[in-house]
């Protein structure tokens, strides 16, 4: 039996007349039943990729398919299996949340699953009888999310689903994402926040300036769990002073501070730092920027190393 992947892109590219290249040579396979994260900064091409999948814009090269249905030629069939939450959409302001859910159910020709709806409304703490015009941006986002999920689509595409939500609700949304995957359905979601991708995704693809620069199976990529440690010294030592620290690596000097990447415990680093006068120390999860910078360090691309010594 042939099983098509949830989403497949082959040499997908999009450029505009005048030479602006929004996407180039993207090859991507999203297996079914997984949570797939698409990481990238604003303008990296995440939304372009998603809009091509939904036939809102057309690729200039390559092809994409959802569950084997071509996103261009069989776009209606493809979209029939997709629930989509746009990153910054508006919803009909004259409707209430419930009107919107009914509208989507009728448009999809399905019966709204009232048990699922009640469940989602409770989880997300949303009053469906309020007019959409009276809802905050975050609550409108919830309306969009529920509308995307109601028909129990095989593939769920979420474009920055947690943006605009408070931290508590971000957790709820990520929990919902996990549950969908547990049911054997597929979630494809874009984000620029590494931590949330790390928490729920099985796979991650990284998009930068329209190109796929990395694709990882997170179970193997423990490196994403690294911490970035920034240290301010009274009298900054030479970078060579940080050679050969077990489990930690000196990355660069940034505004008078030394930046380290720590993977296997802080002990060796702290013992080395103790030789100098430390004024301040900060440890945090890698930001996307850290991630990219380390990615380029690994692939020995010094051109992008702005702060390297």
């Amino acid at each position: 039996m042939v099983s098509f992947p949830a989403i497949q892109a082959t040499h997908l590219g999009k450029h505009y007349r005048g030479g602006v290249r929004a996407l180039a040579q993207v090859d991507l396979v999203v297996p079914r039943g997984t949570v797939f994260g698409l990481l990238g900064q604003n303008g990296a091409g995440k939304t372009t990729l998603i809009r091509i999948l939904l036939d809102m814009i057309r690729p200039t090269e390559g092809r994409a398919s959802i569950l084997g249905f071509d996103c261009q030629d069989d776009s209606v069939e493809a979209r029939a299996h997709v629930g989509y939450l746009p990153s910054s959409a508006n919803y009909y302001s004259y409707m209430t949340g419930r009107d919107m859910f009914d509208f989507v159910a009728r448009a999809r020709g399905v019966q709204a699953d009232s048990a699922l709806l009640d469940d989602l409304l409770t989880c997300l703490d949303l009053d469906p009888e309020r007019g959409i015009r009276t809802l905050s941006k975050g609550n409108q986002q919830k309306v969009g999310l529920i509308a995307a999920l109601l028909a129990k689509p095989e593939v769920v595409i979420l474009d920055e689903p947690t943006s605009g939500l408070d931290p508590l609700m971000q957790d709820v949304v990520l929990e919902i994402v996990r549950e969908i995957a547990a049911e054997g359905r597929t979630v494809f979601f874009s984000s620029h926040i590494l931590s949330e991708v790390e928490r729920v995704c099985d796979h991650v693809a990284v998009l930068r300036a329209g190109r796929l620069v990395g694709s990882f199976d997170l179970a193997e990529q423990r490196r994403l769990a690294a911490r970035i440690v920034t240290v301010r010294f009274a009298d900054a030592p030479a970078p060579s002073a940080f050679d050969g620290i077990a489990g930690a690596r000196f990355l660069r000097t940034e505004a008078g501070r030394a930046v380290f990447e720590v993977r296997e415990g802080f002990d060796a680093l702290l013992k080395r730092l103790a030789q100098f006068t430390v004024l301040d120390i900060d440890a945090h999860e890698p930001t996307l920027e850290d991630f990219f910078l380390s990615l380029y360090t690994d692939s020995a691309a010094p051109a992008v190393m702005g702060g390297g010594s």
Binding site: I57, G62, P86, S88, F103, A147
Partner: protein, 504 residues
């Protein structure tokens, strides 16, 4: 149907407010008419201004001219404004409002979205029109409009706006499919509406640029003179055909549109050139193994270009045909009048006793028929009374046994062979009426229509008719009715359409 009903639901407030607004407008005009008709009759407007407002005739006191100027020449602008708003809201509006993305992710094809939205816009425009028609229905029965202007005519003329609305809606959808935003689309469509209107206004007041009107869709709606000249079916074909052609272009554009990209998008019409063939250079070596670029929509570039060219050709030839036909189309003049015939009054041939009078009222007599005898009082001679013409006796003034002085009217005979429709033509139109022009005569009370030709045109006006002073002068035009249906009798009211000469 989901998108259609949703769109209609969204437009309900606008339909109600526009429709009721227009209904109030027409109601107000109707109620206003009787009180202003008299004063309007006496005002002499410059002909250029009347032309610009599409008034035929100089007399705004005439209800057809009045409502033509006060509603049908401006009303389409109001309905047009609604159509501009609705047609650009349908698709471009969703994009600009940010509601398109969730919508486009639903499993509808672009064609389904387009068709449902387009039908919804048209139904909404029809709804506005129907509410406007209610305005006539609610006001006309309470007012005496003076001349034969019925609710049915007014309602029909109101609905005749729909072909223009359909064309404008198609243009709005087209701009919505190629313009960067809804605002730009609405501005372009609105500008086209105003230009269309102004072209006709300028063309009808400046003879030198008369041909300009053929470039305006508003001209083909026939709306400005609709109560006088009616609708030309060929013009309707031009408008509906144009609406379908432009609508199809809009569909192609919308199918090719990239949603969310805020720029002009004419790409859907252009044969897609191989403009990215050279871009392979900046890619890595595996470009050669790349999957071939997909052609959009599975429709080949030559086919798309062919369809586009065919549509342009259809539009152009439609315009050309319309020009040829409408340029040679003789305009018609609608006038009314009554059936008349020359009368001959037979006077008493002598003074004396009416001995016998065999003539009876309504009797048809031939020339020379003996109608009776009189006895001269002086010489007791018997003098015959004979019919000087053939005709029908319509008046008997004397009875047998009465005395009458010579010259007293005895019998009046209407000359049936000379029966004609006597039509009153306004002084502004009389110059275009000539003998020999075809005239279609309708006797409403008999349900009878006959064809005739103008027999004579008076060279002097009649006295100012009617109670109103200062009314424009009328000229009498006769259309012979010899040998017409027996039921046509003297004094019967008649409506006529004369195929007059084009304004030169």
């Amino acid at each position: 149907m989901v998108l259609l009903t949703q769109m209609l639901y969204r437009l309900r407030i606008q339909v109600l407010s526009y429709g009721l607004g227009l209904a109030l407008w027409v109601g107000f005009e109707v109620l206003l008419f009787p009180s202003v008709a008299d004063s309007l009759s006496s005002i002499e407007y410059p002909q250029a201004i009347l032309d610009a407002f599409g008034v035929s005739g100089t007399n705004l006191g005439d209800p057809r001219a009045f409502f033509g100027a006060e509603f049908f020449s401006l009303g389409p602008l109001a309905l047009g404004a609604f159509v501009v708003a609705a047609s650009t809201a349908a698709l471009a509006g969703e994009e600009s409002a940010g509601t398109m993305e969730p919508l486009a992710a639903l499993p509808f094809s672009r064609r389904q979205m387009f068709v449902q939205k387009a039908v919804a816009v048209f139904v909404a425009a029809a709804g506005v029109t129907a509410l406007t028609a209610l305005g006539w229905a609610a006001s006309v029965p309470f007012v005496d409009l003076g001349r034969e202007l019925t609710i049915v005519e007014l309602v029909g003329a109101t609905f005749a706006q729909l072909s223009f609305a359909a064309f404008l809606g198609a243009v709005g959808m087209l701009f919505g499919a190629v313009a960067p935003s809804r605002g730009t689309a609405a501005a372009c469509t609105g500008a086209l509406l105003v230009i269309a209107y102004l072209l006709v206004a300028i063309a009808s007041s400046v003879d030198a640029v008369d041909g300009l009107k053929y470039a305006s869709p508003y001209y083909y709606s026939d709306l400005s003179g609709i109560l006088v000249d009616g609708v030309d079916p060929r013009h309707q074909v031009v408008l509906w055909g144009g609406a379908l052609a432009v609508g199809y272009l809009a569909l192609i554009a919308f199918e090719g549109r990239e949603l969310g990209a805020e720029r002009w998008q004419f790409d859907a019409f252009l044969p897609r050139g191989d403009d990215d063939a050279s871009d392979g250079g900046d890619m890595t070596s595996d470009t050669t193994t790349a999957v071939p670029r997909r052609t959009r929509r599975g429709m080949s570039a030559p086919l798309r270009a062919g369809i586009f060219a065919a549509l342009v050709a259809i539009l152009a030839s439609g315009g050309l045909v319309a020009y040829r036909y409408t340029a040679s189309l003789p305009p018609t003049l609608k006038v009314s009048g009554r059936v008349e015939a020359p009368t001959a009054t037979i006077l008493a041939p002598t003074s004396g006793l009416v001995v016998t009078l065999t003539a009876a009222l309504g009797q048809t007599v031939a020339q020379g028929d003996l109608l009776g005898w009189m006895e001269n009082t002086l010489d007791k001679s018997m003098v015959p009374i004979t019919a000087p013409h053939s005709g029908r006796i319509t008046t008997l003034s004397l009875d047998q046994g009465q005395f009458a002085a010579a010259g007293t009217p005895v019998v009046v005979i209407h000359e049936l062979t000379e029966m004609h429709a006597l039509l009153e033509v306004d002084e502004s139109d009389i110059g275009r009426v000539a003998t020999g022009q075809a005239a279609q005569l309708t006797f409403t009370s008999l349900g009878l229509t006959v064809e005739g030709r103008v027999g004579s045109v008076d060279t002097l006006p009649t006295r100012a008719s009617g109670a109103r002073s200062g009314q424009s002068r009328k000229y009498e035009v006769k259309v012979p009715l010899a040998g017409v249906d027996q039921r046509v009798i003297i004094g019967l009211p008649v409506d006529a359409r004369i195929a007059i000469a084009p304004r030169s």
